[in-house]
């Protein structure tokens, strides 16, 4: 990934003028427009299998893009969607996928205002690839970045981790773990809105690729602070934990599609937590750690049994085509 971003960045001279540029490698980019800041993001979705417990590629595409805008502290207004599908892709499956997208849009109150569909020959791609772009608008300078954490801040995680990644892997590997828990794929705007209403939000990140561990490490690095995490406070469903042990996959390093990590001023932390817990998707929110001056750029974890170790950012791809 590093190589890809280096190749791209070294060949784009027009990477943004003010606002959040391509070089910032944040969840979204922004344009300054007078007193306003316009937020734009895009993602391709190659999840395999297309349909999984808790959702499908349509739900994933819509939620993923809406969340990338939300996590900048901005209400998502609209998305576009481009679908490339294999010849012979069933109409009823296409309908299900599109209906799922619409469900997510309804939940957030955003619109699909542009789209494209292409059909390629059988075998040219694997069933379907969806690319979405999203847009939101806010007051100039009020975008929340991942550079804003301050020592003393609390770190709030909006809910259980590992749900999406472990569910996909279990299905893909053909393990019948009889999981009760499903993918968490869904919009986080409700949670973000609740937190913003209270205030004190300094930084946010959604723990998608690379999971919670990657999100925390990026926040620590970009904000140039240290983070201390209490493993015991990290919410993980017990069936997901058991499945992850059996798969040999770390639930803290695997993709989530309906969660957000929020760095918040300690003074307002309690209120933000209650506010988030009152939302439909934030019931299991929890303070999982704090921001410190020391060990800048690093995340230290107090383990379940009271030992200490570094929480290293995951390397490589523990699971391809999970999002």
């Amino acid at each position: 990934m590093k190589l890809v971003s280096e190749t791209i960045l070294s060949n784009v001279t027009r990477a943004g003028q003010g606002g959040v540029t391509l070089r910032d490698l944040d969840d979204s980019g922004t344009l300054i427009w007078g007193d306003l800041e316009v937020v734009l993001t895009t993602d391709a979705h190659t999840v395999k299998p297309l349909f999984f417990p808790g959702g499908n590629i349509g739900r994933l595409a819509a939620a993923g893009t809406l969340n990338d805008i939300s996590v900048m502290g901005v209400k998502p207004l609209a998305i576009s969607c481009s679908i490339v599908m294999e010849e012979g892709f069933s109409r009823s499956r296409l309908e299900t996928v599109v209906r799922s997208m619409n469900e997510v849009l309804e939940e957030v109150g955003a619109d699909l205002i542009a789209g494209d569909t292409k059909v390629v020959e059988r075998g040219d791609i694997d069933e379907m690839i969806m690319t979405t772009a999203g847009v939101g608008v806010t007051g100039r300078g009020s975008v929340i970045r991942d550079t804003g954490l301050k020592p003393g801040d609390d770190i709030i995680l909006s809910g259980t981790v590992g749900d999406h990644g472990i569910t996909i892997l279990s299905v893909r590997e053909g393990f019948d773990f009889q999981l009760q828990t499903q993918s968490d794929v869904g919009p986080i705007w409700g949670i973000v809105e609740a937190a913003l209403e209270v205030g004190g939000v300094h930084a946010m990140k959604d723990p998608t690729r690379g999971g919670l561990s990657n999100a925390l490490n990026e926040l620590a690095e970009k904000s140039m602070v240290g983070i201390e995490i209490e493993e015991e406070s990290i919410p993980v469903e017990s069936d997901i934990r058991n499945a992850s042990e059996m798969l040999g996959v770390d639930p803290y390093s695997i993709t989530n599609e309906g969660k957000v990590v929020i760095g918040v001023d300690r003074e307002l932390s309690d209120e933000v937590l209650s506010s988030v817990r009152a939302t439909a998707r934030g019931r299991k929110a929890s303070v999982i750690g704090t921001v410190v001056e020391g060990h800048r750029g690093e995340v230290v974890m107090e383990t379940r049994i009271g030992g200490r170790r570094l929480m290293e950012p995951p390397v490589g791809d523990p699971a391809p085509r999970i999002c």
Partner: protein, 360 residues
């Protein structure tokens, strides 16, 4: 079985306090020979709970890491010229003297990653063609290979038997005297097969305290407490902390299976050289299943570790991964230089994953 008490925070903290109270005045170094133990230690941050005078060091407890480059090179040759090769995921990416099975596959060789021997057999039955299974591991995985041989394999199915034995490796480490070892933490899974008996000679002849430990944090802490007690009392013995899974005599049935199908032989451990009677090979009556018997494979010499790579020292316990100049720099899981960074049981890989770089 409810293992929650073995990673109960209070219990582990009490064990840690006890360890601190028993902290020896002189520096003690305990060695373990199991990647899964290193995983538990690193993942739970157990080293941060130990007194300064107690050090626990990882030995060559990584079957993928110690598989000889000759064996890997031969399997690459098999894949390129003779047969479909079945391998575990970890082994897939380890280079021999040059190439790995992954490299061979990238060039069009038929190499399939499987989770188990059973998977390989199943695939071979469904799509028959000459096949070879890269059978690696310590004593833990040998019984299954033995049972499979006895049950009968599909036609044209062969084995590269690369199993190695832990007690001979322990003996070699103690004889080499590269590092001072004050006690040995013995591997839980291997011991379920071989039992506690085989470690007795070490306590007796070498006067080394021995503790067989399970894989939960509390298992390791309890074993360490006992090792310190043994050092204090001056009466070394074999302590079986993992009594819920290990019997003194081990699994006799599994041992008999192994004996029926395999015999011991000298074996080259990557980074450590040839250790006497430390490997397994198929007995004469099963030799027709040996891939070396079926195909005319080139004779090979063991290759040294890549330049700069300190894997050999890490395997001996005489260096930590962070002592290697390549660690975390040129050598990382996506760009590994030595085998210790490839395997999930490799000390370097574990340290890279769980932050063994510092005590945290």
């Amino acid at each position: 079985m409810d293992l929650s008490s073995f990673h109960d925070r209070d219990a582990v903290q009490r064990a840690a306090k006890l360890l601190l109270r028993k902290a020896p005045r002189r520096q003690l170094t305990f060695l373990h020979v199991c990647g899964t133990h290193e995983n538990t230690i690193a993942r739970y941050g157990l080293r941060s709970l130990l007194p300064d005078s107690v050090r626990i060091v990882a030995g060559p407890g990584c079957p993928v890491c110690v598989t000889s480059t000759c064996e890997i090179d031969s399997m690459v040759e098999v894949a390129q010229d003779h047969a479909r090769v079945f391998t575990y995921g970890d082994m897939f990416s380890v280079p021999g003297s040059g190439r790995s099975l992954r490299d061979a596959r990238a060039d069009g060789a038929d190499v399939q990653v499987v989770y188990s021997l059973a998977d390989a057999i199943s695939i071979a039955r469904k799509s028959p063609k000459p096949s070879a299974f890269f059978s690696i591991g310590f004593e833990t995985t040998a019984p299954l290979a033995a049972t499979t041989v006895l049950a009968g394999v599909p036609p044209d199915f062969y084995f590269q038997i690369s199993h190695r034995l832990i007690p001979p490796a322990m003996r070699a480490l103690l004889d080499a005297g590269e590092i001072r070892i004050d006690g040995l933490l013995c591997p839980g899974h291997v011991s379920t097969i071989i039992g506690a008996e085989p470690y007795e000679p070490f306590a007796r002849e070498y006067g080394i305290p021995i503790a067989i430990a399970g894989f939960e944090p509390l298992d390791v802490m309890l074993a360490l407490i006992d090792l310190i007690d043994q050092v204090d009392s001056g009466k070394p013995r074999v302590f079986n902390e993992y009594s819920r899974a290990v019997r003194w005599t081990g699994n006799r049935k599994a041992q008999r299976m192994i004996e029926r199908v395999f015999e011991t032989c000298d074996s080259e451990w990557r980074g450590l050289g040839t250790l006497p009677e430390s490997g397994l090979r198929l007995r004469d009556e099963h030799r027709d299943l040996d891939v070396r018997n079926r195909f005319d494979l080139k004779p090979r010499e063991p290759a040294p570790m890549p330049p700069g790579c300190r894997c050999a020292d890490v395997l001996l316990g005489s260096a930590d991964p962070s002592d290697c100049p390549l660690f975390g720099d040129r050598c990382t899981p996506p760009t590994p230089v030595g085998p210790c960074m490839v395997s999930s049981e490799g000390t370097c890989r574990i340290w890279y994953t769980y932050g063994g770089r510092g005590r945290g």
